[in-house]
Every structure is written in C-alpha cells, then in structure tokens.
Symmetry: D3
Subunit: 328 residues, 6 copies
Amino acid sequence: MNKAYDIIALGETLLRLTPPDLQRLDQSAGFDVQVGGCESNTLSAMARLGLNCAWLSRLPENELGDRVRQSLRQHNVDVQHVSPGGDDRLGLYFYEPGRAPHRSQVIYDRADSAMARMQPADLPVALFQPGRARLFHTSGITLGLSASACATAQQALQLALEAGIPCSLDINYRQRLWSPQRARLCLEPLLGQLDLLLVAERDIQALWPEAWDAHCHERTLRRFQRWAPNSLLVMTRGSAGAALLTPAGELHQTDAFSAQEVERLGGGDAFAAGFLSAWLAGKSHSEALRQGAAVAAFKYATPGDIAWINRSQLDRLLADPAATGLCR
Amino acid sequence: MNKAYDIIALGETLLRLTPPDLQRLDQSAGFDVQVGGCESNTLSAMARLGLNCAWLSRLPENELGDRVRQSLRQHNVDVQHVSPGGDDRLGLYFYEPGRAPHRSQVIYDRADSAMARMQPADLPVALFQPGRARLFHTSGITLGLSASACATAQQALQLALEAGIPCSLDINYRQRLWSPQRARLCLEPLLGQLDLLLVAERDIQALWPEAWDAHCHERTLRRFQRWAPNSLLVMTRGSAGAALLTPAGELHQTDAFSAQEVERLGGGDAFAAGFLSAWLAGKSHSEALRQGAAVAAFKYATPGDIAWINRSQLDRLLADPAATGLCR
Amino acid sequence: MNKAYDIIALGETLLRLTPPDLQRLDQSAGFDVQVGGCESNTLSAMARLGLNCAWLSRLPENELGDRVRQSLRQHNVDVQHVSPGGDDRLGLYFYEPGRAPHRSQVIYDRADSAMARMQPADLPVALFQPGRARLFHTSGITLGLSASACATAQQALQLALEAGIPCSLDINYRQRLWSPQRARLCLEPLLGQLDLLLVAERDIQALWPEAWDAHCHERTLRRFQRWAPNSLLVMTRGSAGAALLTPAGELHQTDAFSAQEVERLGGGDAFAAGFLSAWLAGKSHSEALRQGAAVAAFKYATPGDIAWINRSQLDRLLADPAATGLCR
Amino acid sequence: MNKAYDIIALGETLLRLTPPDLQRLDQSAGFDVQVGGCESNTLSAMARLGLNCAWLSRLPENELGDRVRQSLRQHNVDVQHVSPGGDDRLGLYFYEPGRAPHRSQVIYDRADSAMARMQPADLPVALFQPGRARLFHTSGITLGLSASACATAQQALQLALEAGIPCSLDINYRQRLWSPQRARLCLEPLLGQLDLLLVAERDIQALWPEAWDAHCHERTLRRFQRWAPNSLLVMTRGSAGAALLTPAGELHQTDAFSAQEVERLGGGDAFAAGFLSAWLAGKSHSEALRQGAAVAAFKYATPGDIAWINRSQLDRLLADPAATGLCR
Amino acid sequence: MNKAYDIIALGETLLRLTPPDLQRLDQSAGFDVQVGGCESNTLSAMARLGLNCAWLSRLPENELGDRVRQSLRQHNVDVQHVSPGGDDRLGLYFYEPGRAPHRSQVIYDRADSAMARMQPADLPVALFQPGRARLFHTSGITLGLSASACATAQQALQLALEAGIPCSLDINYRQRLWSPQRARLCLEPLLGQLDLLLVAERDIQALWPEAWDAHCHERTLRRFQRWAPNSLLVMTRGSAGAALLTPAGELHQTDAFSAQEVERLGGGDAFAAGFLSAWLAGKSHSEALRQGAAVAAFKYATPGDIAWINRSQLDRLLADPAATGLCR
Amino acid sequence: MNKAYDIIALGETLLRLTPPDLQRLDQSAGFDVQVGGCESNTLSAMARLGLNCAWLSRLPENELGDRVRQSLRQHNVDVQHVSPGGDDRLGLYFYEPGRAPHRSQVIYDRADSAMARMQPADLPVALFQPGRARLFHTSGITLGLSASACATAQQALQLALEAGIPCSLDINYRQRLWSPQRARLCLEPLLGQLDLLLVAERDIQALWPEAWDAHCHERTLRRFQRWAPNSLLVMTRGSAGAALLTPAGELHQTDAFSAQEVERLGGGDAFAAGFLSAWLAGKSHSEALRQGAAVAAFKYATPGDIAWINRSQLDRLLADPAATGLCR
C-alpha cells in the first residue's frame, strides 16, 4: 500500500537570481541563487512543519532542474512525481529588492519553460486516487502560465474531485501573465468546485472590482463569496492580517504578527502553508488563520522565498508572541 | 562638425575603498571598490538620464586610471578628453559608514594626485568653443585641490565665459582641503560670473556665517545672494528639501522625497544631476528643483556614490511619488 | 622589575560561528568566524583604550588556539600567561541573529573545552603578587563552566585578595550553564569579598527574585546590596541605562547613549570595559557609569562581540553625544 | 508493504569548516560550511546515481542537526530513520587544505557527539528484516568512535546477518580515533562475517604490517585475505587504482582515472559508492572496480566531501574516458 | 561628418552565470555574473587596444539589457546603434567550468531572445555607407540563431558589400544551434564574398569533413580554400597555433604563446581581436597571426570571456615573450 | 630592567590591496586587504617562531595605522616603539597576481608616506643600548624610500654599532625607488659595517654587474665579497636555493624546498626570517641556510606576504621534507 500525502500541489518553480546588498541588477558582480515558486514555497514550509508533501511539475533534465529538485528535497518535499522535461528550459526570474524610492522589481523570464509545456498526460494519475492525498493545491499562476499548463491544472482539479480529494486554490494574480479579463474567464468556472480558496485582498480589487469595498474589508469578502459560495474563503490582507468566511457566512479574523522585514517575497505562500497545515490538522478556523499569519511573519523576517522554520519555532511564537531576547 | 555636449565638467575622481557590512576600517578582510568624485557623480547620473556628458580631468596611465575610465564609460560619460597623467598617483579615499554613535568617516588620501597636478595647459581647448557645450560645471573641491588644479579650473571658467558657455558651480566645501578663509578668498571673485550656483545650506553656515540665519532658511538664501547676484542660486537642505532664488528675487522651493537611506554619500551630486538635467531641458525652476530632489532620493537608496537610475524610474517617481509595492 | 597590569582577567574565549546576512544556521553556505568571551571582550576594549591588560585562560595548542591568541593580541591584550591546553578542544558557539519573530539564538558547544579543564595549578601565581596588577576580574560564566574552572576562579580570587589586588566580578548568568540554585550557591559566598560587582538587572530577577522589584529598579538595587554589602554595585539595565550603589548607600545613574543596533552581543562586556577603565583612571562614579554606557553604545553599533573603538572616538562621544554627520 | 532499500548505512556525519582560498585556519575571516561523513558521503553519491539509500545515525535536534538532514536529503538520502539526539552536540571537523610544504590538516572535534552516544536500542530494528534492505554498510570509523557506537555497529551487523542482509565494511582507519592494536582487536572478529570488505592499501600497512608487501600489492592483498576469507576483498590504492580478490582467489584490477585534483577528501567514500552501486546492479567485478575508480575521479575534481555527480556524467566517462573539451 | 568606425560587428551578447570556485551548477549559493558574446568579445578586446568599434544587436529595454550596454561601454565599445528590444528576453547561458574528469559545460538558454528576434529593418543603415566603417564582422552563431537573425546578418553582409566595406566572418560552429547540414547550407553561399574568414580547425572537421586531414593541417587548409577562394583564410588550432592562407596560396603560420590557463572561454574571439586589429593596422600576415595568438594567450590567463588587456601589455608580450617575473 | 629583544627592525609597512581570483586591477568589485613590508614580514615570521621582535617605523594615527599595528601584533611583533605619524598618509600598494602571459604586477603608492617622513629623532634611542637587542635589521628599501628615511636608517645603524648590537641588511633592490647608481652610492659605504648581509642573486646582477657571473653563482658570490668583506654573506637564488660565504671564504649551500606556489610575494623576507632565527639560536651556517629555505617554501605556499607558520610545522618540515598526506 502506498502512503497518503497530506498535500499534493501543482505549479512552477523558478530559478531566482538576486543582486546582493541592495545593489541594482546592472550593478552587482554576482547574483545570489535560490529557487522559488508559489506552490513549492508553500510545500517547503509545510514539509518543514512535518507534513507529507509531494510536488507536481515539470523540470528540465539537467543540473538546473536538479538544482530545483535538490532545493525542495532539502525541505523534505517529495519530487519523485515531477515530470521529465528533457532539454526544455527552466523558468527564471530576477528579483531586485529596492528601498524607497526604488521599488522592488521582478523581471520574469519564464515563457516557454518546462512547466509551461506540461501536458495533462504528464500528471501522475496514480496519485489522484481515493486515499492517496488529503488535499490538492494549486494557484492562479499555474492556470495563467500557458494553455497547456492551464489544461493540466484543470485536469488535475477534475481528477482530484473525482477521487474525492479536497481542492484548494491560491488566486495569486500576476498581471504580467494575463489580464483580469482572461484570468476571470479561466478562474470563475473553477471557483465553485473548491473546498478552500485563498485570495489576497488586492487581487479581489484587481480582478473583481465590483466586489471590492475600499472602506470595509468584511463587505469585500462577503460580496466576493458570490463567486465561491461553497469554499472556505480566506482573504489575506498583508500587515492588516487575514479574514475567513465560511460558506455558512461565519467570519473569523486574525491580526498579523509583528515582523521586522528582511524580505517580503513569499509571504502569501507562507501564509498558505501555515493555514493549510492547521486546517489539515483539524484546528479551528481561528487557529488556522492565526497559524497562517505566524508563518507569514517568520517568512518576512527570513531571506529568500521560503519560511525557513521548524515546528518548535512556530509553537513558541503561537504560545508567546511577545517573547523576545536571546536565550543564553 | 563635432557634436555638442550637454555638459562638460572638470574635477577629480577618486578610488573609493569601503569595508563591507558595517565593519570598521581596521576590522574587515576586504574592501569594496568603487570610484567617486563630485563632478563625475553628477555626470554619471546625467548620462544615465540620457544627456551627452564629457568629463575633464587628469588620470594616471595605468590600470587604476583605467578603472576610473571604465566606471564612467559604463554610465556613458565621455572620457576621451581626460588628460594623461603618466605615472602620477590616483587619489583615493577610505569610506567607513557608521551607525550611531559611530559617525561615518572619510579618510582622504588625495594629496599630489594626477588631478592635483593638472595644469591649465592640459585643458582640451577645442571643447571651449561656441556651440561645443551647453554648460560648464565644476565644484569648490576642484578649486581647493591644489594651486595648479585651482588655476586650471579658473582657466576653464574663463574659457567657457569667452565661448559663451553658461557656467555652473557646486560649492561643496571640504574642510579637510582648505580653511573657510582660503575658500572664500578663492571662490568669491568667481561667484559673480556664474549662471548657476549650487550650495548646501551647511556650507553657507561654514563659509558665510554672516549670511546664515538659523531660524529662516529663506533669509539665509536672500542674504547670500549678495555674493552671487547674477546666478540662479540653488540651496540644498538635505531632508528639508531645496530652495532656489532667481537674480530677480523670485523664490522656489521643493520638499525632499522620502527615502530609506542605504548610503548618503553622493546625495548632493545627485541633486545637481537632476536639477541640471531639468534646467538643460528647459523645465521650470520648480520642476528642476523637484527633479533634483527626486534624483537625490534615489541616490540615498542606492549603494555607492552614484544615482544608479534610468529615465523611466525617475519619470515614475515624479509622476507618482506615493506608489509602492512590487509589480508582478 | 616586571610591569604592573592595569587588569588581569580569567575566563573562556570561544570560537564564534555566525551565518551572514541574517540567514539561518541551516541555510548559509559559510559562517563568519570571530572569537568572543566575556572577560576577553572586556579586556579587548580596555586594551584598545590604552590599558595594560592580561588574559588568563587555557587554550589548545593548535591553530584554533592560535586564532584566539592572535585575535586578542591584535587588540593588545597580553596572552603570554595563557596556560597550554595540549590537544583539548576549543569551546565554540553558533550565533544566529534573528529579526522578529525570529529570536536571536545561541547554540553553545563548550562542554569539556580546554578552559573547562583548567586547574588552579594552571594559574600564573607570579602575577598574583602585590604591585603586579591593579585589578582582577572574572565572571559568573567562568565559575559556572565546570568544577575545575570554578575552583580555578575561586583560587584566583583568593590569591588576589591575599596580594591586595582589588577584585571585580561580572555576574553574567547563563541559564544553559547552571540553574539559579547552583549559581547562587557558588556565587553568594564570594560576593562579600568583591570590590566591584557588575550585574544585569535581568540577572537579579533570575537569580535573586526576592530582591527584584518590577516597578522600581532603585529598590531592586538597594535590596540586592544585602548580598554584596562591601562592593561598588553596578547594575546594567540595557536601553534604560545603568545605576551604581556605593557601600555607603549613595546612588548614581546614567542614561544609555542612543545607538543604532548592528549587533547586541557583547554590550555588557563593553559596559564593563568602559566602567572599569574609568574606575582605574580614578574618575567619579558618575563619569565611570557614563563611560560604561558610551562604550556599550559603540558596541551595539559594531559587528562582532567586541567594542572596536579607540580613545579618540570615545572622547568625542563623551564630549558631544549629539554630534552626527560626516566630517569631510 | 514497505519499500526495500538498496543500501542502509550506519555512521557519523560531521559539520565541516574550511577556510577558503588556501588560507590557514587562523588566517581567514570566514569558513565554508559543508557536512561530511564516511558512510553518508558514500550514500550521497549512490543516491545521486539513483539508488534507494537510507542513513542510520544520531543527530542533535537543533538547526545543526537539521543542517545535516537537509544536506543528505538534498542528494535523496533517506534520513527518516535517524535517531533523535536531543541536546547532544554535533561532531565537527576543521579541514585546512595545504599546498606543499604545508600538509593538509584535519582537526577533529567529535568527542562525545550525538552519534558517539548512539546506543544499540536506537537502531531502527524494523529495517533489519528480510527484504527491507539489499546491503548493510558501515566503516571502521563508526566502530572506533566510542564504546556505545561500537556496540551499536556490532549490533547492526548482527541484525543484518540474522535477516540475511549482506554486509559491507570500509576499514577507513583513523589513527586519531584509536591505536592499531585497539582497532584490530575490534575489527578482526567481524571480518569473517562480511560479504564485502573495502580497505585502503595504506590501512593494511598501518594495521596489518605483517600482510603488507612494499613491492607487490597483489601479495599484500593475498596475504591479507587470511583475515577476511569469506569476503569480496577490495583494496584501493589511490592514484595506483584498485584491486579485488574473490574468496576463490580470483584477482581483478583497475587503473585510476586521471583527474585534476580540486580536493582529495572523500575519494575513498566515492570509490565505495561507485563500486557498491555496480555490485548491487550485478555488474562484473571488473566493471564494479572501474566504476569505483570513476566515481573517485569525479570526487577528486569536485570541491567538498561528496562526489557531486549524476548518472549521465558517470556513463559518459565510463564510455569515453578520453573525451575532453566543451560541448557547445 | 560622422566618424568612421574601424569595425562594426553584428551578434548576440548573453548574460553569463558561473558558479564560483569550481563548484557545480547545482552546488553553489551564488553565480558570478558576466556578459559574453562572440562578436562583442572581439570588439571589447579591440576597443581596449584603441580601435573604434561599434556593436550591432538587439537588447531588451530593461536593467538586463542595460547591464550588457554598460559592460560593453566599459571597454569603449559603441552601443548607440543597438536596436531596442522592448520587453523581449535577454539570452543567457550557464557556464560550469570543470576539471577532468568533469568536462566544462555550457547550458544555453537563448531561444527567442531579443537578438533572435532582430529583423533586417532593425539594422542602422546609415552605418553601411562608404567611409562609415573599415570592416564588417559577424559569426556563424549570428547566422544560426534564428531565421530572422540569419536574414539580418545576410542583409548586413549585402549592405556592407554594396558600400565597399570589407567583410569578415568567424565560423564559430555551435552544434547546439544547428546541424552541420543546415550550417553549410546557410554559410557556403556567403563564403565567396568574404575578405576575411576565420575558422577553427575543429569546425572544419565538423562541417567539412571532406576537407579535413587528421595528419596535415596545411592540407586541411588548402582543401578548405575551395569554399572560400577569395578570402584571407585564417585557421586557429588552439595550443597548436594558427595558420593563414592567402587567395594566392601563400601560407603563414604562428605558434601559440604559452599561457597558464585560467579560463579557456573566449580564446577564439580574442584571437580574432588580435588578428583583425593588426590587419586593420596594415601589419603583415605573419604579424597579424602572431598578434592574434598573443591576445588569445592573454585571454586564457584571464577570468571571464574577454581579453582584459591594454596596448602596453600586448606590446610587451610581442616584444619579449619570454619575460617573466615581477617588476618592483 | 627592560627585556632584550632578539631583533629590532626598521622599515615601512604598506597597506596591500589585491583583486581576488586572478581578476585584473580594473576588473574586480573588491580588493582583499592585507599589510606587508619587507622588515615586518621578516619580524612576523620570526615572532611566529617564538622570537622576541620589535618593529620600528612611523605610522599615521588613524584607523589605517591601527590596521598595521593590529596586523603585526597579531603575530606578536612589538609595535610600541613605532613613531606617531599624525595625519600623514599610509603608504600602500596594489598587487595584481598574473598567470602567464600576464605578469604579476605591483603598483606602488608610497611616496610621502608617514615612514618616508620619519626622522632620525623619531628613533627610540633607549632601544639602541647594550643588551637591549641582539640584532638590528633593515633593508635597502628603507634606505631608498626618502632622504629622511635614509638618514634615519643610517643613524639607526650607527647607534647599533655604537651599542655593540650586530647589524643585518637585506639589500632588496627596488628599481621603482632608485637607480642602481643611487642605490650603490648609498649602500656601499654601509656594507663594510654589517655582520650579516642578505642579497638576492638578481640584485647583484642589477646593482653590481661587474660581480655577476651568469654561469657560476659561486664566483658571483666570491666576487661580490669585495664590497662586504666583514659580513656573513647570504645570497638567495629562488628555486635554486641559497648560498653563504663567510668572511673567511668558507662556502655553504642549500637547495630550495619544493613548494606548490600559492603566492610568491614575501619569499625573500621569509628566508631572512628563517635564517636569522637560526643564526640567533646559534645554529650552524648550513642549518641556518636550510631553515631560511624552509620558511621561504612555506611562504610560497601561503596567501599573503607573510609566512603564516608555527614552530611545529617548521620542525616537521626540517625533520622530514618528503612527508606528505593528511594526518587523520
């Protein structure tokens, strides 16, 4: 008998290149190298917390693909189901952190990547069977990558539904990938089928302006529920915390944990990791929101895309958010 | 026919050596290496904004001189008119950034440098002809470097005046180079001939205390006008912004743009770059002041002496100073 | 005739390994390497200020021990009296700085080190003679390291008393080394013999909760005097400054100097350096407290365990705490 | 049903600290950080070649232990059976590469480490069942670490024998751990039970001088067979290649592959990886020897302890050892 | 009147990413960043030697494109005629240096780059006029990049011919870009029109095996002349030197200069720089060959793609190839 | 009573700036920082071997001067007698290592340094008393630095002679400092008064060509003795070893020890350290030569100017020059 994964997630992971020490992209003599991707960031943090996680994607069969495999395995994410992408290219992005008035900047170079060429047939169907996974997760990025990536994600959702595996989606709207119109056209038919839907407040504003209320985020969330009436709806609000609305209309909220920002990238993915881990552990909605906020806070205080934590650090923060100082 | 430069500027550029990561000068195992100099910092930012800039100076004919040439060419500053300095030494300085109570510190080692040995005869006279340049610029540093550098700068101003080329001076008082008395003796006879005069409020306080009013910077500026009655007078005030007084007594002001300080060095040079670029483009006095403040803000947020920007970043800040966040 | 040391101090110095750039201990590809130890940090800063300092300890006779010797000699601390530790191991610690909600963390690996194996017989008795030293200093860490280190420190105090050398102790409680009970059992018999006793307010709270008053630090200090009635009692309070109580019940206080924190480690040791230097120079209690606070402020603004300063920087701060800006 | 491992191996993995750029241990400002250990080096290379590998050991439950776990998982070594070592210390070593006349130097600091405290009861007995593993592997280092590590390794060999799992030992004599006398006393009773025995020629010289023949390595090997009459006996000879003697007295040999040495450490472990992988794949003795030599050659040309290779690189070398140049 | 360029060259320049210190691509925490491209490497070295060089290409209008512009300007290559590539991607490559048995490896990621999308209409026709340039140069790489790049290069050759500008081609066969068949089909019609043709002996072997003679390179060269009867034919032979055949059948040869290899990449481009500089200066065929070999030797001893030299270094080597030692 | 130094030496120590990783001086983003100087290099190695060494010089009173003090103290060189140089500049040099055909290059920038301004009156006369020092040492560099440095060195030699302190000179000819004519004029009157004279064979060729015999170094040495008839004459010959001629005409020779060159700089100074240490220890001429060659070999294998060794490494090499391999 095969083991059941707590979560399987489908998406792209990119090579990330960053100039060190706040230098500009055309100024530094070297780049720091990391890997990052919405779903794998979430899985990495969840695996660090002890969950059993598998990542579905497509990678080139060279040292660059190996680099991604190694990075995720390091956190204990299972990459054995990744589809071989031959000589395809690895998507990448350049991240230039900026202090005001410089704005942090991302230059994506992901077109025609191995993942963008993934096909429904590349999915490991054996995983989409009853009892093989407790949750399927993907994001709007995967749906927006390319026609074939979109078909692959739709197929995965369909297979999960058929196998009775709950489904989760993180909207994660990327204006460089698609227009609000195209995004809505693709996303809306899927929203009704999701058990869990995570969305940033700013993405509601960008995609569903008719739902957005500048003065009352609760109204925004309740209006938006029209598009996902069957989902547990989680809306992240950055430093303003997060809110959750049940299909029954019950509202839960959390404040953000205070954090000294080292690097903001990956905060939403970290929130998802904390929230989904708690949800899978059967914690209450409020506890799950709070755990999401806690993992996001750790991420903000950590260099790189990933919430580089362990269970004991998280438990300590949840138990005593105000504790500071050095233990000697 | 030869091309007309938007600006030609005369001054010294030094090798800059900085211990990384806030280490002390006697603590670090290596130094970051950059080049910096008042006039070339200004030219570099202006060239990055698309202006046609030539730098006049004198450099050793070795790899250290080449390093300066390469750094400036990188930003598209024309260095072909630089005078060959044989085996002379390259001036240098050690910059030790400090967090309070440490004070940032500069140790200059520029005595007897190639530029300090520049002679009037080393000037490229062909450039000081009508129509060859739209502005000549130099600083009080160049005048204070050495007797021969002073004579060279005076000669350059004279040649520019004769050719009908407008002249600009950035006072940039350096107490390590000369006393207030010596500085005034040299500077005052020149001030009446300048079209543009840039001066930091603290330099008015240091050199012309009789003009300085601790409580009213406008009064300071109006009093100081006595020494430069024919110039567009620009007074920079750090985080308090900048003010401009026309010969006719018209006052313009700008606030500073908010900036998260990465490194303060070079802010005044960056202001000059923004202001002079706008002035050369025929923008209004207010717009020019504001552009000066904007380029200075970018500089404060950038490591090194130079405002490492491009035109589109600047336009974005001027159009929408409050915009933040990451474009994805 | 042999020279008289201003201070001789007994303690352990460890190799310190730190991941750079706020990376986590399991994230970075390299570690910065430094050395640090309570007493030698204090001596290093005092030697930088011009005092004649000798360090007593035990070190392995290999390149790691040499590294410690070299680091201390660099600051002009005399290490010739260090006892040879053969093939013993050098104690070390891993320091992981953290931004909230990460907490800075220290992982000690000092058990069974060369210093923990030091014996009373390893002490250089020739130093413990009248006129050979003006002060003997050690810390609670040395007493808590091991039974033999404790016996060695007790013996050193005894020898100093017999030779008429004043004695100073910095409590420096480390919960990883011993429990409050064990610490009190060892420390209390010694306190009555000390001329100088330095203690952090938080250590009074941890070890002598019956003396601690959450609302009034003066009361805490006066209550604590019961255990050290003959000592000049100095209580450091971090950003709240420091207070001193004389055996006669006279109270002196100082505010902390404002500092932009680069690294907090070593602040207490730096305070001791400033205070003891002033005390040895015969300055007033208030001046000594203030000098302690000043050296601590420099430390907070400096990477590493040691207040990397010189006399002129310190004098400048004491003379004009509000001065800022760059001298050019 | 649980999966069968190709190999399970028991041993210690240490944190390795190396000064960069051929600096001395007391000269560099930082250390490169890696992890290394005889058995895990072998497993890492085997996992990179596609084998299913589990590592048995004991690690502290902190970020340093996590660092080891992450490093091995990166190569796809299964670390789930590692025993939790609480607050025990992680063994470490300082490696100082040297160019002649400097000799490369290792300073071990591994006494009383988590692994040295491992007990037989810490072994995952469920793995020592028929069909759960195709090979058990350990080294003389593990046997020499401490009494309890020795008992643990003896117990593991016993359990493997009982479960019908073939056993392999790499002698790997370390004079810093034990004397030849103590090593022989411990090792000799075990040798008769091994299926595979790997030994460096220099270790035969050091431990069994009566078997060693300076002029004829074949004779050395045949003489040494007396102590391990039932084992496939593999003797590595550095740049002179390797030889294998079957219980039946059949001799096989291989030359070394030419390699430009980047770092020699880990060559023997890499040889074991190549040899054991081939042996498990049922290749001939000659092919297995040759594959061992090939993986060792890659190791010599790679920084760090581990043969950082993949299957296609290895196949290419085996197919065409003389190929050079850059494929573009 | 516009200035005449000594050489204008058309080609692609890529971002180059290299793991430092002989680490593998999936091993290092950072990459060194440089830019490299066949034609711009040649131009950079020629500009360093004092020639007036313009580079024709197409670049994205972002910081990555700026990085290329800055790097080339640094060496004094004129980039003002580069065509704006909007949001197109910058081609890039990963270079992994290897010590045997590792083979150095290049992973190209250049498909669909800004340059691959260049169109004939993007060429600066004003440069292809009589007297505007003394030589046009391109390579087989440019022809193999894409259909539109090929058309652009063909158009450039046509324009140059019409303007009476001599033409030079460096074959530079890249098997990753096209097959020998496709390459010959494209190249052969052009060869008859070239004034200068540079080709590596191994490229003759790969593309025109019928011309290649394993035992006699002179025969290879004479046979190959059939395809380029009107060109000065230069065949580079790596460490075996180079040979030149005139249309009249006159043969010249040079040995290679001895070099300690730091990095081999870019050697052919450096040879071209040295040869073409000498040819443009009217030196003899033998002198030109020898200068090509000299610049290539400097390149081998220099990190990066570019022969980072100056005129005086080159003259010194040509004058006294055997001189060694340090001038103090 | 004051302690007697084994050696006191007078000379200049410079800040050394080196581009890492074989980059060129105008290529690297940072410089490695070290300090180096002929006499202090010799003292540093001698102090590392346990001798009691004092350095005489003049240093600026700022962090750069402190850097030199700290570096030398690290090796246990006594710097308390260094003369305060106020705001004078620290001499410096840029060292660019090169692989052939690049030649390693030094760019000196030492004119008008603090040491070049040292006066005879700055000498610590109290040291030049009978019994205060066992040897005085300086070099031709010190004599060639400036008129006042020359007068200072001459005065020091005179004081030493008067106090009966033996004198040693290392010729160390620097063509960048003075011509052969000037050097001879200054040096020759001093040679007759020296107890020890060290000279590189290439310096005899440069300064005393009439003594130099290309085919027989013994003849060179015997001829050269005419200028220093009373000295123990030591001639270093790089990889050819060294020779010694006594005033009585007795010849001793040593081979060089084999070394893998990491950095050649400082080899002669290291030789002097080894030789003088042995001479002071009363070893035989042959042993002293051999120890000089051994320390030089260590230096060649070490980055930086200084033979970063200890006594046990040296003893091991002298006892067993052929030993290799790693002790584990």
